[in-house]
């Protein structure tokens, strides 16, 4: 037996070992809930999902992308070719082995990059432990296989060949053994996850960000144990490669709150085994209270005696930055929301400060317990048409919770003024507008959300309008993306896009001179507008029309950083070391901009709450009004 045949055997044996291990692991997923998966179209779409969608994310880190392309490409192509080495005519073809050698040489280069990434200093976002052995296994396997192939290509050089084989065998088996628990698992689970992805729409150009409605008649509401997740969610947790991109993007983690999306996913995966987090060698949840740290497929996930402390759950702002960054397309926020639903609906265990707004939402349809009729107080003295029972309007202006707030009232007054100046046919619902239920939903109170959604849909159904306009991206998301599941489908537009339309159509005349000479502006993307709805351009277009010098923060657009105000985080109020808006404002300050343009009432409130010297926080509508009034 030649070394080349032995190499092929090593590859085959490794594959068999890997298959056994992965099947063994896959057996665990079956405790999950059955989920219908369109396998055929999933497999068909896999190459595109991997090569386009995943690559698009991976390529944000150029070095990682290069590394992965070389090492993964080399590993798959080299191993596949080497495995075919048992086929006789190929086994003796020098040219063939030269090709194999070349491919493993490429993989070897990738292996060195893997090493350089982790040595001499491992970046903190990367996990250690078995991951630190990965470069050695990869380079060992690649170098060994390269030597075997080289010996066959230029040889025969049996001594070199057999020496290489030993190296290749150690590396190859080492890698195979990582399939069950180690870093290499992601190669298979990642591909499977792409095939059986719970949100296939995101690969078809859709911003598939709406939460799935919960059937309130289920015997158990929300997710208590790993077994309560859909099976493909369990699969998705196993796809995590612990690259830590989510960790870096997470605003709660940055603020020192006890949330780390990477650790969360790892805990969910570890709980399935059953097991604990002993093997985890990345950063933990900052300042998290102690927990037992054990889990099992049918054991509770959340709790001091379980895997994850509830504070971790409630630290999330649902900003989706982790999801946006995840190269394995894991849906962290869905997992958190499922867990929150159980805590709220089954255990009533919402954070203390969230109890009052939720109870007000239930009793008064408004999280502040204020009279619905007072929602229009902000516009007293202005001409704000209220839609009568049998009235009709082109644009229905949905005011949202911000209308009760003094600061946001200013934004809304600017918007109303602009609509009036542009001659827009618009009206509000007045006292008939209830809260959309966004806060209830993010806090896990799906029952209250669904009740409010149905009530609002019934109200909207009684009125005639063409589209809904709102200055609140959370409202936009609920009405546009989450109400259709309850039978309410509307054309919903954010005020930045709408105002951009008005200016483009010449219905609002702008001053020739910039609002404030020399003033520069940086635009802060609201998560629920940018990441949730993909709208990052209209507000920028509008700002550019105003003639302000626009500068970007490092994190902007779909990769923007949260203000800290989403997901009920301000009412959950989980302590950290810093405040998220302070971190974001520091980023804005670093641009040197005099103005932070915002487009969301929550962002406005969070950023304006930052003390000390800072840029002025102004809604895009306020800036536009200044430009329009400057023209008058």
């Amino acid at each position: 037996m030649s070394a080349t045949v032995a190499l092929a055997l090593v590859v085959w044996l490794s594959l068999i070992a890997a298959a056994i291990l992965i099947l063994n692991r896959a057996r665990l997923w079956t405790v999950g809930q059955p989920v219908p998966v369109d396998w055929a179209s999933g497999f068909k779409a896999l190459p595109r999902r991997y090569l386009v969608d995943v690559h698009h994310i991976v390529a944000r880190d150029r070095q990682a992308s290069r590394m992965h392309m070389l090492v993964a490409g080399g590993l798959v192509a080299g191993s596949a070719l080497a495995a075919l080495g048992i086929v006789p005519p190929l086994g003796h073809a020098r040219f063939y082995w030269a090709l194999v050698a070349l491919i493993f040489a490429i993989m070897l280069a990738g292996g060195f990059l893997v090493g350089r990434r982790r040595y001499p200093v491992k970046p903190p976002r990367l996990s250690g432990g078995t991951f630190q052995r990965l470069p050695f296994l990869l380079t060992g396997y690649a170098l060994g296989a390269f030597l075997v192939a080289l010996s066959a290509a230029i040889g025969p050089l049996p001594a070199l060949g057999w020496a290489g084989l030993v190296l290749a065998a150690v590396g190859g088996f080492g890698l195979a053994l990582q399939l069950g628990q180690g870093p290499m698992r992601h190669a298979v689970t990642g591909a499977l996850h792409l095939v059986a992805h719970p949100r296939p729409g995101r690969f078809e150009g859709k911003r598939e960000t709406a939460l799935a409605p919960l059937n309130l008649n289920e015997p158990k509401l929300g997710i208590e144990t790993p077994a309560d997740f859909g099976w493909n969610r369990l699969l998705s947790f196993d796809a995590c490669i612990q690259c830590g991109r989510c960790e870096v993007a997470c605003p709660a983690f940055a603020a020192g709150q006890p949330l780390n999306p990477k650790k969360l996913i790892q805990d969910l995966a570890a709980a399935l085994a059953p097991g604990n987090d002993a093997a985890y060698a990345g950063r933990g949840y900052p300042n998290a209270p102690d927990v037992a740290g054990v889990g099992s497929p049918h054991g509770a996930i959340i709790g001091a005696d379980a895997m994850i402390h509830p504070d971790t759950l409630w630290s999330c702002t649902t900003c989706r930055a982790c999801v946006e960054e995840c190269p394995m397309t894991i849906e962290h926020v869905d997992a958190i929301m499922g867990l929150r639903r159980f805590q709220t609906l089954e255990r009533g265990a919402v954070p203390e400060k969230a109890e009052l707004p939720l109870s007000d939402l239930r009793g008064a349809d408004e999280p502040g317990g204020r009279a619905l009729a007072r929602r229009t107080d902000f516009a007293a003295g202005m001409d704000l048409p209220v839609l009568s029972e049998d009235g009709e309007t082109d644009v229905l202006l949905w005011l949202g919770e911000g209308a009760y707030d003094l600061r946001v009232g200013r934004t809304l007054r600017a918007l109303v003024k602009l609509l009036t100046l542009a001659g827009v046919d618009f009206a509000v619902l007045g006292a008939k507008e209830r809260d959309t239920g966004d806060l209830a939903r993010r806090l896990g109170d799906e029952a209250t959300f669904q009740r409010l959604a149905r009530d609002n849909i019934a109200t909207l159904g009684r009125h005639r309008f063409r589209r809904i306009l709102t200055a609140d991206p959370h409202v936009l998301h609920a009405l546009r993306n989450e109400y259709p599941a309850f039978g309410g489908s509307y054309e919903v537009i954010h005020h930045t896009a709408f105002l951009d339309e008005l200016v483009a159509a010449g219905r609002l005349k702008l001053a020739a001179a910039p609002i404030a000479a020399g003033a520069s502006v940086t635009y802060h993307d609201p998560c629920y507008l940018g990441r949730y709805n993909g709208e990052t351009e209209a507000p920028r277009r509008l700002l550019d029309r105003l003639g302000l010098a626009r500068v970007e923060m490092e994190r902007h657009g779909r990769r923007s950083m949260c203000c800290g105000g989403g997901g009920g985080a301000p009412v959950s109020d989980i302590p950290g070391e810093r405040r998220i808006p302070d971190i974001r404002m520091a980023q804005a300050r670093a641009t040197g901009a005099k103005i932070v343009a915002v487009a969301c009432p929550t962002c406005t409130g969070m950023l304006e709450g930052v003390t000390g010297e800072r840029p002025e926080v102004l809604d895009v509508a306020e800036l536009l009004l200044r430009a329009v009034e400057g023209a008058a």
Binding site: D377, A380, G381, D405, L406, G409
Partner: protein, 679 residues
């Protein structure tokens, strides 16, 4: 952020009328009426508040409904004939354009007015009892008078409605005919209008019923009244609550506008218009007590100078609307600034009473710290940017200099201000050291903050020299170096010290002190009070007919009250002839201004208050080099035109404030505002 600010920004609906927020200005008499009509100046003054976001602005304090309650004494409004209606229409359109509401006060002043103006009818009252303040002995109202006046109210409210006003109130406060009937101290009648409270309330009920009959139940009609007259024989709090309950129970009034006190004499008048000696909102408990008993909204005004107090009054449920009348004279854009998150930019009323004190001597209401109020036709409340930026150097950080820096910087000019003291404010800082005059310090505090915010380079603790000024290569130099106290020219004047020496602490007099006052203003009175409180035996001597003769009617009684309490000897009608030392004491020779009789005093200190003389050395040295010889073109400034800019290189030089001649704070601010708004 102001606590509970949102409580102020809630609309209030009265019948069909929705007022956009809870902040209002009560009816008052700014003296802007012309021929008994609210004409352009009057309307612009209120329009500025409407622009500034106010919910309800009420005008026409004591607008008359009958010829024997003349409009003339305070240049007020006469609603006694239809000729006023077109003015109302124009006025209400102007206010409604900005989303605010407009109401008027209708009244018959009864005995509280003059008989010797306009129509020369005697005043009328329930009984012929003289009012000290108005000095009239009224005619006892006959039934025919009552019927005529009731009909007058009804016709007047019709004119209000036709003029598009959103409503009106009738006045039963400050001792007008309505409350003259209520009060047993004025009403000694034995007929159906006198005797029991029920009878005493009858006149008002007839008035309101006639008004309702004329305009219907939908038109908003309120009533202003005192919550407690606070005088020995006046209406008590119980009486006033009973009246409020009865009128509102009958559905005659849609709101009750409550104040504290009365105005029948000097001190009552001063208490009902509390100045800076009072705490803020001193009488809030009175509307609060009435609000507990009635179902209609309750309004209140009385030294609510800041939004935090206003918000507290509303949010705690003491009142439904809070009136910030003088606060709006200081800053008509108060509500807008709150709404825009610029509450720090609000120019807060300091309670100097300058506005109202001017009215009671027949003048027009002007704000001590805002020279644009009442001059809206010519003076801007919001400064527009200049087309051409200039370099402006201001010398002096008193009110005139700070205003110049504030306005010039808001115009977009590059401004450098030199002030040799470490604290800006000039003479105000000295005046503010005198007991309750402390609130004056609010004036420079705001000016300073605004000038700095507008980007002026304020070099405090830095004395200006010719070299330092020239080093800035200025286009404009504004000398606001103020003045220094004059010791006068009497023989031995050098033995006297000034009031400044006392207030700044340069000299700390003890023992007996003679304070000679030539000015009749706050300066001497407040210095005397300060000295007396420090234990000095004080005699204040003046050549005027009384001490503090020039001090206005809301301030003079407070000064006199304090001086009496402290045992200060007040000696009017005496001139200071000579001062000479004898031993370690001083002899002061005084001469009676009428009899020429001379007297002497032996005292430890002689202090004189003779106003200031300009500090003009720097001006004089710069004058020859300036392009305009240091002169303001008076024709241009009065016409509101920019100052002419003579050809040639160099700078224009102007003097403002006491650096020209010793005057007052308002004069200094006005000098600077009207100069710099066109710079």
């Amino acid at each position: 952020m102001i606590a509970n600010a949102e409580a102020l920004l809630k609309p209030l609906t009265i019948k069909g009328l929705t007022i956009r927020n809870r902040v209002m200005s009560t009816s008052h008499a700014p003296g802007y009426g012309k021929d008994g009509k609210p004409q352009e100046r009057y309307q612009l003054y209120h329009e500025e508040k409407a622009k500034g976001g106010i919910g309800l602005t009420m005008f026409g304090g004591s607008s008359s409904v009958a010829l024997d309650s003349p409009a003339a004494p305070w240049n007020q409004i006469s609603v006694a004939d239809d000729s006023v209606v077109p003015f109302f229409r124009e006025f209400s359109d102007r206010i409604h354009r900005h989303g605010a509401k407009l109401m008027i006060q209708l009244t018959h002043m009864g005995r509280r007015t003059k008989w010797d103006t306009e129509n020369w009818f005697p005043t009328v009252a329930p009984s012929p009892r003289r009012e000290p303040a108005s000095r009239t002995i009224p005619k006892e109202a006959e039934d025919e008078d009552i019927a005529r006046i009731v009909a007058g109210f009804a016709q007047a409210v019709r004119r209000c409605k036709e003029g598009g006003l959103d409503g009106c109130e009738i006045s039963g406060a400050h001792g007008h005919l309505l409350d003259q009937f209520w009060s047993p101290s004025v009403n000694a009648r034995t007929d159906r209008y006198g005797g029991s409270l029920e009878n005493r309330m009858r006149f008002g009920i007839e008035v309101l019923e006639a008004m309702r009959a004329e305009v219907g139940d939908d038109y908003v009609i309120g009533m202003r009244m005192s919550g407690d007259e606070l005088i020995a024989d006046g209406l008590t709090q119980e009486d006033q609550i009973a009246i409020a309950v009865e009128y509102s129970r009958r559905g005659l009034v849609d709101f009750i506008n409550v104040l504290g006190g009365h105005a029948r004499d000097h001190i009552a008048h001063a208490i009902s218009l509390p100045n800076m000696a009072f705490p803020v909102a001193p009488f809030l408990y009175l509307p609060s007590a009435i609000k507990r008993e009635v179902d209609v909204p309750v309004f209140h005004a009385q030294r609510v100078t800041d939004l935090a107090t206003a918000a507290r009054a509303v949010t705690e449920g003491h009142v439904d609307m809070i009136a910030m009348t003088r606060a709006h004279i200081a800053d008509p854009h108060l509500v807008r600034k709150l709404q825009e998150g610029r509450a720090d930019d609000i120019r807060q009323c300091i309670g100097a009473g300058y506005c109202i004190d001017r009215i009671y001597v027949g003048g027009d209401a002007l704000c001590i710290q805002n020279a644009a109020t009442g001059r809206e036709a010519t003076m801007p409340h919001v400064i527009a940017r200049a087309e051409k930026p200039r370099k402006v150097v201001v010398v002096g950080g008193g009110p005139g200099g700070l205003e110049a820096a504030r306005v010039a910087a808001a115009r977009g000019h590059s401004v450098v201000l030199f002030e040799k003291e470490r604290l800006a404010g000039g003479q105000i800082n000295i005046a503010a050291k005198a007991t309750w005059r402390e609130a004056l310090s609010g004036i420079p505090r705001w000016l300073h903050a605004q000038a700095a915010k507008n980007g002026a380079d304020l070099r405090l603790g830095t004395e200006a020299t010719e070299g330092a000024i020239m080093a800035e290569a200025p286009d404009v130099v504004i000398v606001a170096t103020g003045g220094l106290p004059s010791l006068g020219h009497a023989k031995g004047a050098e033995h006297a010290i000034s009031t400044w020496d006392v207030l700044t602490g340069t000299v700390e007099p003890t023992g007996s002190v003679l304070l000679f006052d030539e000015m009749g203003q706050h300066n001497a009175a407040s210095t005397a009070e300060t000295l007396a409180k420090r234990g000095c035996l004080v005699e204040i001597v003046t050549h005027d007919r009384m001490v503090g003769e020039e001090i206005g009617t809301t301030n003079q009684p407070i000064h006199l009250r304090e001086l009496y309490k402290l045992g200060v000897v007040m000696t009017p009608n005496m001139d200071l002839i000579e001062i000479y030392p004898e031993g370690n004491r001083l002899i002061v020779a005084l001469r009676n201004t009428y009899t020429d009789a001379e007297e002497e005093r032996v005292v430890d200190r002689v202090i004189v208050e003779r106003g200031t003389l300009p500090v003009d050395a720097l001006y004089t040295s710069l004058k020859a080099r300036s392009v305009n010889g240091g002169q303001v073109d008076q024709d241009a400034i009065v016409a509101g035109r920019p100052q002419p800019w003579p050809d040639g290189d160099g700078f224009a030089l102007y003097r403002v404030g006491d650096a020209l001649a010793g005057r007052n704070i308002h004069a200094a601010l006005y000098d600077s505002l009207r100069l710099c708004k066109d710079l």
